[in-house]
Subunit: 196 residues, 2 copies
Amino acid sequence: MPKIGMEPVRRKALIDATISAIGERGSLDVTMSEIAGRAGVSSALAHHYFGAKDELLFATMRHILAELNIDTRRALRLAMTPRQRVSAVVAVSFSDDQFQPQIIAAWLAFYVEAQKSSDLRRLLRIYARRLHSNLMSGLTGILPRAEADRVAEATAALIDGLYIRRALKDGVPNAQTAIELIEDYLETKLTGRSLP
Amino acid sequence: MPKIGMEPVRRKALIDATISAIGERGSLDVTMSEIAGRAGVSSALAHHYFGAKDELLFATMRHILAELNIDTRRALRLAMTPRQRVSAVVAVSFSDDQFQPQIIAAWLAFYVEAQKSSDLRRLLRIYARRLHSNLMSGLTGILPRAEADRVAEATAALIDGLYIRRALKDGVPNAQTAIELIEDYLETKLTGRSLP
DNA sequence: TTTTATTGATTGATGCGTCAATAAAAAATA
DNA sequence: TATTTTTTATTGACGCATCAATCAATAAAA
């Protein structure tokens, strides 16, 4: 009984299903049938809306990235000082919306897939650049540019590293601990060095 | 024309071929035929020696881990002070043998696979524990235990994070830069706090 | 003659992508 | 308004390719 205007609903459902399927399997080795089943439709419909599997995966990663970006922008809007901007970027990466097993597993899986797909690689590069730039938007108000660059690089690496170790269920046990660890690093690098 | 005593030779060749295949493809999505072909044998022979594909992959990861362990032990033997022990562990992770695209791609791919395979997960946990313990072997001589724990955790996360970002060909451009970044972190955390 | 090394051929399973068919809504036409 | 036509939504069934794993066969060494 076809209702009209189903396309956006199905697209959303399929992307959500893709995330949860990847999260459960822990890799991109999920079948179109599995994803479609979770979304409550046939695999043929998934192909109808997304063409090939790659495109569905790509759309899924883009969706995750877009969500992260929205959250980040909102958090940055609330930050009043450069120091708060840095903390805001870190906090978003470990917020309840982002730092959940499904999303972490997806990140990891997409990092691997990016080795094969240049489209996906480009997407993840954009994330890396944006993260760096967001961190710099706060750090340049506190440190000289060269120094800020290094701290941004280290902070980004810390975020990615803590994500991975979380995927292994090893290392830091929760988001709060992860944030404290990075904040501790930032404190030792930033205190007593405020620009005039 | 079967020569005897081929087993160890073939096993080694197949594991090396697996690493290079994974390194090139950037994921574990390599066929047994591809691997066997690189090793100069038939896929049937690969099955003959390793049984199933999982076992070959497992043996490959174990081999990579063993190599890392050997290198680390050698480096630690040369370290004279606690501070040098910490640097030694970091240096090995970014040595020419370890910080090459093939090995990095393999690490990343195996991290993902560990989500599915509990055997592999156990193996990677051992690595994580060992890394932590190796770092602690130096840090406990410099910092109080709780503090040492945090620094070890952060250092491990930094190493993993820099590995990932390297896989994306983004972030730090080379091993030297990566080492400097971590050493910079360690300096700010360790200087002026030597235990009596 | 038994063991070790080796492979070509085959099988069976899996999974992507296609296609024709069905049906409801919307648009066009009478 | 009643009808026909087109568009949108949806799926079951199927073809086709890929690959892991097996097996029987071959041949050199012990």
